[in-house]
């Protein structure tokens, strides 16, 4: 499957990846090649097969609702850029 430039740009936007036009071209070509390889799965009839998302078939693993030791505020913040004990993020309501 050949990805169009518009598709590649759209995927980069969905993935929140800032890619140069060179990178977009390169990944577009490489992804098309990988998708061609993946097409071979269509040779298999899977109409009667259930999907496997996880090999452990445990369901609803519950946890007691009790407070356990956890990170201090200082530890939780130690790897971020912070101001007044808050993480600094981009503004949500401004134009980018």
């Amino acid at each position: 499957m050949k990805l169009t430039d518009i598709q590649v740009k759209h995927v980069a936007k969905l993935a929140n990846l800032p890619l140069s036009s060179e990178e977009l071209k390169k990944y577009g070509e490489q992804l098309s090649k990988i998708l061609d390889y993946i097409e071979q799965l269509n040779k298999i009839d899977t109409s009667k097969v259930n999907p496997t998302f996880n090999v452990v078939d445990k369901k609803n693993v519950w946890d007691e609702d009790i407070v356990k030791p956890s990170l201090s505020q200082e530890q939780a913040l130690q790897n971020g850029q912070t101001k007044n004990d808050y993480f600094i993020t981009k503004g949500v309501f401004e134009e980018e």
């Binding site: 995927v11 993935a15 990988i34 799965l41 496997t52 452990v56 445990k58």
Partner: protein
């Protein structure tokens, strides 16, 4: 006596007998690291003040207040505030982290070349790749720069570098070892496991690190209990899948593997041909499932709570995020992700059927020995195809062992022993019986 040549078992015994102290042990390893690390590029961080049994840890497993980069520039300043479950358990057993090992960025790669911190060299030949993604952890054991190490295996990232570096590597059954504190690549495939100098050591490490911790919802059961239910191979059925000996398998590697199988037969094993008919589709299914999970897992790297912004991802990370974002996107999800998940069921059923007839399945780990640095770097698809014999086990969630079984032109070859889900005791027993009957694990690279 060179302390660094001892296995974990020998080291523990020698410490108990007071043949040397933990300080002497650590000094010996640190001096080895000092001599070899600039040549091999194995360690990204070395801890000088260790007092335990020196363990090397893949830098994708987080260690409290020891820098953890995941092999990426995006985490080049990351100081984890807590330890992964496996680290806590090793510390309780008297081990210490002697250093953090290099690997392909976020464990994506088969050669170690995708690390943002340069390629690790294969101790057997410095022009060759050590395999990947747990490149440094495999090379560290091969070059005796630690007693043992930990890696992660998502599509072969423990077994393949173990094979290419001539050490023992164990991929545990999915859910056997807690992934808490292992930076997630592909959550339905990732497992932590050891690299060791002997199969017996792998058994010990598995005992130490396995069992549920309440922090990884998929991890279950009690810690692994060695049974050693058999002492020889009589009555043991050893499956040989014809699909693992087809096109693409190097003739030299095939010869070594066939000889190893003959040895297993001499040791009393019954060789049974089995078929895993969907093997040829494993890579295609994997390269939908893995990138899809990657694109989701790596979404958290936005430079807010930790690390830098997303422009700092390396080429392979970007490529797989793009691929996974595409295969999960509206309009393509059913055709790609669901289709791959269905093929995964067929691959899992292949193993279930085969294991009705046999106790273990053996074959090559890697279709070739270590290749030249740079050889496949610009061709991602060629690189992906080198994992053809390891990926199916991850998709099925079963366990697998790689152990030294010979050489081709001076480069190690690993024998893969695959077991049923939760069948670690059986594959370790078969591996141990083979190891005791051969001397391949005693060979060391000349450095």
């Amino acid at each position: 006596m060179d302390l660094t040549k001892l296995s974990l078992k020998q080291t523990i015994k020698a410490l108990e007998d007071k043949q040397f102290s933990k300080q002497e042990l650590n000094r010996a390893y640190l001096s080895k690291i000092d001599t070899l690390n600039s040549k091999l590029n194995v360690f990204l961080e070395v801890e000088k003040n260790t007092l335990g049994i020196p363990a090397a840890i893949k830098d994708i497993i987080i260690t409290q207040n020891i820098k953890t980069t995941a092999g990426s520039k995006i985490l080049s300043n990351f100081l984890p505030p807590y330890n992964a479950t496996v680290i806590g358990r090793l510390l309780e057993k008297g081990c210490s982290v002697i250093g953090k090992t290099n690997h392909d960025e976020f464990a994506m790669g088969s050669s170690g070349e995708n690390s943002a911190y340069g390629v690790t060299k294969n101790p057997w030949n410095l022009k060759k790749v050590p395999g990947g993604s747990s490149s440094g952890s495999a090379a560290a054991v091969a070059a005796d720069m630690c007693v043992f190490s930990l890696g992660t295996d998502t599509g072969g990232s423990i077994r393949q570098p173990a094979s290419l570096c001539g050490v023992v590597g164990l991929k545990t059954s999915y859910g056997r070892v807690s992934r808490y504190g292992a930076i997630a690549l592909s959550s339905s495939l990732d497992q932590i496991g050891p690299f060791t100098k002997t199969v017996e050591d792998a058994r010990t490490i598995l005992e130490w690190i396995s069992g549920e911790d309440g922090l990884d919802a998929n991890c279950h059961g009690k810690p692994f209990q060695p049974q050693k239910s058999f002492k020889n191979l009589s009555g043991i059925k050893i499956g040989v899948p014809k699909e693992y000996f087809g096109k693409g398998l190097d003739k030299g590697v095939e010869k070594v593997i066939r000889e190893a199988i003959k040895k297993l037969e001499e040791l009393g094993g019954e060789i049974v041909e089995v078929s895993l008919p969907h093997t040829e589709y494993a890579i295609a299914a994997y390269y939908i499932i893995l990138p899809s999970e990657v694109s989701s897992n790596l979404a958290k790297f936005d430079g807010i709570r930790f690390g830098f912004d997303r422009s700092k991802f390396g080429a392979e990370a970007k490529r797989r995020i793009m691929l996974g974002t595409f295969t999960l996107s509206a309009g393509y999800f059913d055709d790609y992700f669901i289709k791959a998940a269905k093929v995964r069921t067929l691959i899992k059923q292949d193993f279930e059927k085969a294991f009705e007839k046999v106790d273990v399945i053996v074959g090559p780990v890697s279709p070739t020995v270590a290749w030249d640095i740079g050889e496949k770097f610009d061709d991602p698809l060629a690189m992906y195809l080198s994992d053809a014999y390891t990926i199916p086990a991850n998709l099925a969630g079963i366990c697998g062992l790689s152990l030294p079984c010979g050489f081709v032109e001076g480069l190690p070859v690993g024998l893969q022993i695959l077991g049923k889900y939760w069948g670690e005791d059986t594959i370790l027993s078969v591996g141990e019986i083979y190891e005791q009957a051969t001397d391949w694990h005693k060979e060391k690279p000349k450095l």
